[in-house]
């Protein structure tokens, strides 16, 4: 049969960011997909050569506008472990809280984009309305809605008072109750089920073979979550990774839906267990320049992110590298796209929650 090549992207209604897939089709079936990335490569990793390590945190934060807090946190944690800086306990708890709030924010954003992609405009608006409230919490606590700039090497810059924390928790729990209605729509609406169920099935074996990470792996039945390693105060939190076994697009939606509730519960536990009081130390400033190398792993909303930092005792790092979750999920995405219908490709691409800015840095 004659083959047709259709370029998917860089501009496509479902893609918030540019990526190209050259889809090779036989009739309506995709038999091969060749990804091309590099449209928004900004050379941020290269900037370590001319930006001092103290300033680089602000650059790393700008890798992505959705997981900006966790990027900043990953960079600071990497340098803290190289420089043996002990981070005050309250600062570590605050980081966990902000990280989980940004997970809620990211999932709400993605659920909205997902709803938009399968044509459910009303649901999209509701998800983004709720996300707006999370952004308000960020603006209130960090001073910025998207770029937070609260992470410093050795701690955090701002404190959240205990009364403010209680208010935030109340607001989040109210939002969680409101979200239940939206989650029920995602889970039970027949049009959504019809569109997503059985589309883009990634089996557990395939997920392991292509090294899927984050919700992508958890939707295929792999209980993989970097938070289970117990770093960054997660050892004080009771939680189990959320796993679905179907491995299709609907399972990936359901994992993210349930993770929103889980994150709100983690925030509740964190606020319960963190040390209370005003004026507690938040930052231990590092001295001198870093020497050594380190790998740091974090669970971002999209999956595991890996930072590699190599320092040589000067003000500039020798190497900084971020292996972002979308980069790790692209092989899984290609695997799913092959053999699917052309009409299902947008759904499959969207359900990996692609963050191209992260991927290309």
């Amino acid at each position: 049969m004659k083959r047709t090549t259709i370029p998917f992207g860089p501009q496509h209604p479902v893609l918030p960011e540019p990526i190209v897939l050259d889809l090779i089709l036989e009739d309506e079936k995709v038999i091969d997909a060749i990804p091309t990335i590099g449209y928004i490569h900004r050379g941020l990793e290269m900037m370590v050569e001319r930006v001092e390590y103290t300033e680089m945190g602000f650059v790393v934060e700008r890798i992505c506008g959705i997981c900006s807090f966790m990027h900043g946190m990953g960079y600071c944690v990497s340098l803290e472990s190289i420089m043996n800086v002990e981070v005050p306990e309250r600062a570590r708890w605050l980081r966990l809280i902000w990280a989980e709030i940004s997970r809620v924010q990211s999932h709400l954003l993605w659920l909205g984009l997902g709803a938009d992609a399968f044509g459910f405009e009303n649901l999209f608006m509701h998800c983004w309305r709720m996300r707006e409230e999370i952004l308000d919490i960020f603006e209130q606590t960090t001073g910025g809605r998207i770029i937070h700039s609260v992470n410093r090497i050795g701690g955090v810059k701002r404190d959240i008072s205990d009364t403010e924390l209680a208010a935030i928790l109340a607001r989040l729990q109210q939002l969680g109750a409101e979200f239940k209605e939206t989650a029920r729509v995602f889970g039970t609406d027949p049009s959504i089920r019809h569109r997503l169920s059985g589309v883009g099935v990634l089996s557990m074996e395939d997920a392991r073979a292509v090294d899927a990470v984050g919700p992508m792996a958890r939707a295929s039945g792999i209980a993989m979550d970097t938070r289970l390693s117990g770093t960054f105060m997660y050892d004080h939190i009771d939680f189990q990774p959320i796993v679905e076994t179907a491995g299709d697009c609907l399972a990936r939606v359901l994992v993210r839906l349930r993770e929103v509730d889980q994150s709100i519960d983690i925030i509740r536990q964190a606020i319960d267990r963190m040390p209370k009081g005003e004026g507690m130390p938040l930052e231990n400033k590092p001295r001198g320049n870093p020497t050594g190398e380190v790998f740091t792993r974090l669970e971002q909303p999209r999956g595991e992110v890996l930072y590699y930092v190599k320092a040589n005792g000067t003000k500039n790092l020798e190497r900084f590298r971020a292996r972002t979750p979308t980069f790790a999920n692209i092989p899984a995405m290609i695997k799913l796209v092959k053999g699917s219908d052309l009409a299902d490709v947008p759904q499959i691409i969207l359900t990996i929650d692609p963050c191209i800015s992260c991927t290309e840095r």
Binding site: V51, F58, Q140, G143, R184, D189
Partner: protein, 135 residues
């Protein structure tokens, strides 16, 4: 007509018809900024001693200081409002405003081609007597 119980968004959609809009009529109704929100850097010329620490530590290189000319400038379009300069300033000459950041437009480019966000200060030289006591 489709069964509304099988369309779980229908109750919400019906409630939306009766409820107020979730958005604001922006230009007429402006939400006040939260306390502690990061706005623009404000500079106090009186207290500055031109130590240049802010310019050296600014990640975006938005601040230019010339100690000899007693000149201090910030390019608000380059500034990323991270607050590092406010933290390092020993004289507390720099503060972070809580208002929204000013939107600079191309129309503001001056006849000399100056960037619209550039704000400059030059402190007049102190009288000679003050230099003697300081030295």
């Amino acid at each position: 007509m489709a069964n509304p119980f099988r369309l779980p968004m229908v109750p919400r959609a019906l409630r939306n018809l009766a409820s107020k809009p979730a958005t604001r009529l922006y230009p007429t109704e402006i939400r006040p900024r939260f306390a502690g929100a990061r706005g623009e850097i404000e500079f106090d010329l009186e207290t500055c001693n031109f130590c240049m620490l802010c310019a050296r530590r600014c990640p975006a290189a938005a601040i230019t200081v010339a100690r000899d000319d007693r000149y201090w400038s910030i390019d608000q379009l380059v500034c990323i409002a991270c607050g590092v300069c406010v933290d390092v300033c020993a004289k507390k000459s720099l503060t972070m405003s809580e208002g929204s950041r000013h939107i600079h437009t191309k129309a503001e480019i001056g006849p000399d081609g100056r960037r619209p966000g550039l704000e400059e200060w030059t402190k007049p030289a102190p009288p000679p007597a003050e230099i003697n006591t300081a030295g």
